[in-house]
């Protein structure tokens, strides 16, 4: 039997004005388990808390009911008071007789009567309370960053800066991501490589950071603070530790017709390659689909020219297991495929390109060495048409595109238009837009400069179709403001393709039990207040995997994700919320229903051996809750058919006791 103390607060006149606090204290004294009751002007004051502490000692209290303001206000306060008096803090219950009683009811008899009932419900609950101790779990002080674009790089650097070890897993042979493919960046027009490559070098040189390039995450087990991750290092047929990145192999490789994905297949590379000059790690990789040596054993040139002896044709995929305390997802984005947009003739003409291809065409390290030339004939285009919102802002039932605004297209199109006019003032540049969206520091000014200083024609209206006609592309479009249909003879058409999350994100989300929206963007724990955390504890989001973002936003989010990781890794132990679900193994059917409704993947199943009354053993499948992952929503408790699952702190028995107390 509990020994419960009831403490009724006046809250000045806030409560005492409409509730007869003395009568409440008297009435509750008669409740089962109650051995002491008192009332005081301000329970939350030091004197009020001292009164509670003294009563706990004097009356040997095992439970406390405070009739006061909302538990959202002072539950934490009174739990601390209880703890200070040597009581388990979870032996405290609050009866909310202010916000939900004295403030909403007018007269004293009504208020008093309701306050007594609320008090009784709290007493009934405390009678069934048990001391709870928050679970503790150790924290592996190492973070994993999945994705080595600017988001992943920045997050890794920030975490490493705080003194924690970080591993980056990047599926491509080099880190750098999309930003490495860009030419200039808006709105300042500084060169992407100039600001990105030093960061890549920082990553390479930081002794806290390990890079797993050409690698993928294949399995994630465990939970916040204790993830077990398996990483597949794909065979690159080059010993990373020996390769000096001299490039002799790539020069001598006779297989020259390999599509160069770094340049979006607009030119070719060799079967052994280093994606670009500033690659990190600067290590060659053999493309097994094209290498003659790997395909039919006839060649071996790279091995002969490699002075370091780094070539290893027998290399196999390698699986590495590592432990991490936190995981940051930074899987980034890709432009959507233009295959379905027949009207823009992307597949019919080489001179219809996407904006990312345009970036490569203007990049000094690109296929044209930075000269803006038509992919079809290498001539200088005199008339260029840019089309915005290709595949963005589509209706939900439109299968070609995406419902959302891709956010970055307005600005990069303005940038492309401006740079073209700057470098080639003889070029005629037209941009077709639906809306120009430029919220961002110096963004609108940038767009206006493109129009006013650089003479880019902005036309409101969408392009209806692009018709290849000899060397020209006839762009049929509407000018909605002039009320005209236009037919422009263009030399080059640039499509601002919508962006979508990388395809690797969906299987990764499944592995992490992290939730995604219908567009495969990762969902944040709270859209406003926890934007860089996944609802799955210990999983954080960085960059465009969470939604379309430009570089400054990505870097800001990367830093924010890093700070969350640092906050987690700085702890030696994680103390959880003790109000978590718990399964009674004796009653568990092993049916998996709870596992299916758990939003956090906190429930797993294991085969457990039971001793039966007849001394035989029985192996049964039972649920077990990981208290470090469970957030205590209680959804599983209702889903459980046998009632084996219960929620500590809000046990079925306790809630039923409250119901009974109220309905008496």
């Amino acid at each position: 039997m509990q020994r419960i103390g009831v403490f009724v607060c006046w809250c000045g006149t806030n409560i005492a004005g409409t509730v007869d606090v003395v009568a409440v204290a008297e009435a509750l004294k008669k409740e089962p388990g109650v051995v002491f009751s008192a009332n005081y002007q301000y329970m939350c004051s030091q004197a009020g808390q001292d009164l509670i502490k003294a009563a706990v000692k004097e009356h040997n209290l095992t439970g406390i009911v405070v009739c006061s303001c909302s538990p959202r206000m002072h539950e934490a306060t009174f739990r601390k008071t209880a703890a200070a008096a040597g009581l388990n803090p979870y032996m405290v219950e609050i009866a909310n007789i202010r916000e939900q009683c004295s403030w909403v009811h007018k007269d004293v008899p009504t208020g008093t009567e309701k306050a007594i009932i609320l008090g009784k419900a709290a007493v009934a609950k405390v009678n069934l309370n048990v001391p709870l101790t928050p679970g503790e779990s150790p924290v592996t002080k190492r973070a994993l960053v999945i994705g080595g674009g600017i988001a992943g790089i920045q997050t890794a650097l920030d975490i490493a800066d705080a003194g924690f070890e970080v591993d980056i897993v990047e599926k491509k042979p080099t880190i750098g991501g999309k930003m490495a493919q860009l030419d200039k960046t808006f709105p300042t027009l500084d060169c992407a490589a100039c600001i990105l490559t030093p960061k890549m070098v920082d990553v390479a040189q930081n002794e806290k950071i390990r890079i797993f390039s050409y690698s993928e995450v294949t399995e994630v087990k465990g939970f916040v603070g204790n993830f077990d991750v398996t990483i597949k290092k794909k065979a690159r047929y080059v010993k990373e530790e020996l390769c000096t990145g001299c490039g002799a192999c790539t020069e001598k490789c006779p297989m020259k017709k390999v599509p160069n994905d770094f340049n979006l297949n607009m030119d070719t590379k060799r079967a052994i390659y280093i994606p670009f000059a500033q690659a990190v790690p600067k290590v060659a990789t053999i493309d097994a689909d094209y290498c003659n040596m790997l395909k039919n054993g006839k060649c071996g040139v790279c091995s002969k020219v490699c002075a370091a002896g780094a070539i290893d044709y027998t290399q196999k995929d390698e699986f590495i297991s590592e432990k991490y305390g936190a995981i940051v997802v930074a899987t980034g984005f890709n432009p959507i495929s233009m295959d379905k947009f027949d009207e823009f003739a992307y597949n019919q003409s080489k001179d219809v390109i996407t904006s990312l291809e345009f970036e490569r065409l203007t990049n000094a390290a690109g296929p044209t060495a930075g000269k803006l030339l038509r992919p079809s004939d290498g001539k200088h285009p005199e008339k260029i048409v840019f089309v915005q919102c290709v595949g963005s802002r589509c209706d939900a039932c439109n299968e070609k595109g995406k419902e959302y605004c891709s956010k970055i297209c307005c600005m990069y199109t303005a940038k492309h238009a401006m740079l073209t006019r700057d470098k080639y003032p003889d070029t005629d540049v037209t941009v077709f837009y639906i809306d120009v969206r430029t919220p961002g520091k110096n963004f609108d000014e940038f767009y206006r400069r493109a129009v006013e200083e650089y003479g880019v024609h902005y036309i409101k209206g969408m392009v209806g179709k692009v018709i290849p006609d000899g060397e020209k592309l006839i762009v049929q479009a509407s000018d909605l403001i002039a009320g005209k249909q236009l037919k422009i003879d263009a030399d080059l058409v640039v499509l601002a393709a919508a962006i979508e999350p990388d395809k690797s994100a969906r299987p990764l989300a499944t592995m992490l039990t992290a939730s995604m929206d219908t567009n495969d963007f990762f969902t944040e724990a709270h859209p406003k207040l926890r934007p860089v955390e996944s609802p799955t504890a210990g999983v954080f989001l960085s960059g465009a995997c969470q939604g379309p973002k430009d570089i400054p936003e990505t870097v800001a989010q990367a830093g924010a994700a890093a700070s969350k990781v640092i906050g987690l890794l700085a702890k030696d132990k994680l103390t959880g919320n003790p109000c978590v679900a718990q399964s009674n193994e004796m009653m568990c059917n092993g049916c998996s229903t709870c596992e299916r409704v758990c939003p956090y993947g906190a429930i797993t199943y294991e085969d457990k051996e039971f001793r039966m009354p007849d001394r035989s053993t029985l192996i049964r499948r039972v649920a077990s809750v990981n208290p470090a992952v469970c957030q205590g929503c209680g959804c599983c408790t209702v889903a459980c058919p046998s009632g084996a699952m219960d929620l500590k702190g809000f046990a079925s028995e306790q809630i039923i006791a409250e119901v009974d107390a109220i309905c008496k």
């Binding site: 009207e343 919102c389 595949g391 802002r393 439109n398 070609k400 639906i434 969408m462 209806g464 249909q485």
Partner: protein, 130 residues
Amino acid sequence: MSNSKKYLQEELIRISGVNPKKCMRCGKCTATCPAYDEMEYHPHQFVYMIESGDIEPLLESESLYKCLTCFACVERCPRSVEPAKLVEAVRLAAIRKQGNNRLTANDIPALLDEDMPQQAIVSAFRKYTK
């Protein structure tokens, strides 16, 4: 909007099954329209004018009979608004009025000539007659 206008608007929306509010005013329908030069009001204007209830001018307009119903606008609309179906609905609203048949049997002989496929006349007759 007056009641009669509102009624007409609702009628058109009902006949066509199109929600003009989904339009984001990109004008791709008009950009893609092969009959643009023939039309006084263009597909995006149909959508916009029906949404704003300004339907009378459309009912009067020759544009109704210039639309080829080729469905290029329907195919390419990013918002799945389906402008051609709205044009069709306005056309129906126009010809359903007493004496508003666009084409009568008497008009047909005059239209017959060597170059005109007869199928076109048949389908026009179906389309433009109550």
